[in-house]
């Protein structure tokens, strides 16, 4: 019986160790939870992917994000989306309003917004431009960009752990969230889009902190 108890204890220890590793010490149970925790612990440097933009020359993502002065709240979208991205679009409109009202001239705002398309098949500069116009985006605060092909897209999504899957209805399902990027371009925190106020406050605080330095 002693050996049976020892074997049971061994299996228990093995399962505990696996569960401990998989859940970051029983803090997270989903891949999304783990992604957010890991980003908060280890900021993610932006991939050097060339992105096109409406009404502007194409630019590398790390150059767009690392402007040395403003924090950026990033989201991933596709312009044909009518579900989650609509509420993300709404959230971004509210964020834009909050940013502009705190800084009416909107010259060098401390927080900027960037919507990145993950649908290079349908979203070209023109489609993104129309989308931006539809959402009344103020180009001084809210910019748009997209990868030029599937290869660039994969390079873009991988480090941010954005997972895009077909929803079976011709559109996409994706782990939509607000990604807060510091003025040096590193992704430092991920918020739910229901926590937009928190995301904005956090972005403001890291921008202020980096400008004070």
């Amino acid at each position: 019986m002693l050996r049976t108890i020892l074997a049971s204890a061994f299996f228990a220890a093995l399962s505990y160790a696996s569960a401990h590793a998989l859940t970051h010490d029983f803090q997270v149970w989903t891949a999304e939870g783990a992604r957010r925790l890991e980003v908060a612990l280890n900021p993610v440097t932006p991939p050097a992917v060339e992105l096109f933009a409406p009404w502007a020359p194409s630019q590398r993502l790390d150059h767009i994000l690392a402007d040395g002065h403003a924090a950026t709240i990033v989201d991933f979208i596709y312009t044909r989306c009518t579900t989650v991205c609509l509420s993300l679009g709404n959230t971004f409109q509210q964020l834009q309003t909050a940013i502009v009202s705190a800084n009416p001239s909107a010259v060098n705002p401390p927080v900027r917004l960037l919507s990145i398309s993950f649908d290079p098949v349908h979203d070209d500069p023109q489609a993104l431009g129309q989308y931006a116009a539809r959402l009344h985006a103020d180009p001084r605060v809210w910019r748009f960009a997209g990868p030029r092909n599937a290869h660039d897209l994969a390079q873009l999504l991988k480090p941010y752990e954005v997972v895009v899957i077909p929803d079976g209805l011709g559109g996409f399902e994706h782990n939509a969230a607000l990604l807060v990027v510091d003025p040096t371009g590193r992704l430092v925190r991920i918020f739910d889009y229901a926590e937009a106020d928190l995301a904005l406050a956090y972005a403001r605080s890291i921008a202020a902190e980096s400008n004070a330095r």
Partner: protein
């Protein structure tokens, strides 16, 4: 009804064939492309392949290992804990893009299948009841969590798929409980 029994050698070959099909053919990706198929079909199928493969374990080794699994206890403990770990939603996502996790998952399920078969045979009704009394409610609770969660728990799967999985887990746990009760009842009635 009498099911024709395969010899040990034939069983292990069938197990090996099943495992090969599950891992090396397009069926692998097809089963993992849906959350419900991933857990409700691939998991049990891998356990079945492990159970069949275990027929190849030689008698000498069985006798050596027997004292480590008296009454099937440590085997049942291992299977229950293994299933508990593998039902964590993150495992399903990680299994898709981390080959290490996928290999660990497959290996754990094969071993769990082998241990379950062996422990089931030597455990007797009482120990089986303890095992099922822990594992089936766990499956039911996980199932109801999957079914009722308002948001997706896995980034790689859709919400309706997750709800199907939840319902499937609940039905499966009920079905196993009923089948076991019927068999246990018949077994007890047949005793003098």
């Amino acid at each position: 009804m009498k099911v024709p029994r395969l010899g040990a050698r034939a069983q292990s070959w069938v197990g090996f064939g099943l495992l090969t099909i599950l891992i090396l053919t397009p069926l692998h990706a097809a089963l993992e492309s849906s959350m419900s198929r991933h857990m409700l079909i691939q998991y049990p199928a891998l356990m079945l392949s492990g159970a069949l493969l275990s027929a190849a374990v030689p008698g000498v080794l069985r006798r050596r290992l027997a004292p480590w699994n008296a009454l099937g206890l440590s085997g049942f403990v291992a299977v229950a804990l293994c299933l508990a770990v593998l039902m964590i939603p993150r495992v399903l996502d990680l299994a898709l893009d981390d080959p290490g996790v996928e290999a660990g998952k497959i290996l754990a399920l094969i071993v769990a299948g082998a241990l379950l078969r062996h422990s089931w045979r030597i455990g007797g009704l009482l120990i089986q009841a303890f095992f099922l009394g822990y594992t089936l409610p766990m499956m039911g609770v996980v199932g109801s969590l999957y079914e009722s969660a308002p948001a997706r728990l896995c980034n790689a799967y859709l919400l309706d798929d997750q709800q199907n999985l939840g319902q499937g887990l609940i039905w499966l746990s009920v079905a196993i409980a009923l089948i076991w009760l019927a068999r246990a009842g018949r077994c007890l009635m047949a005793r003098p």
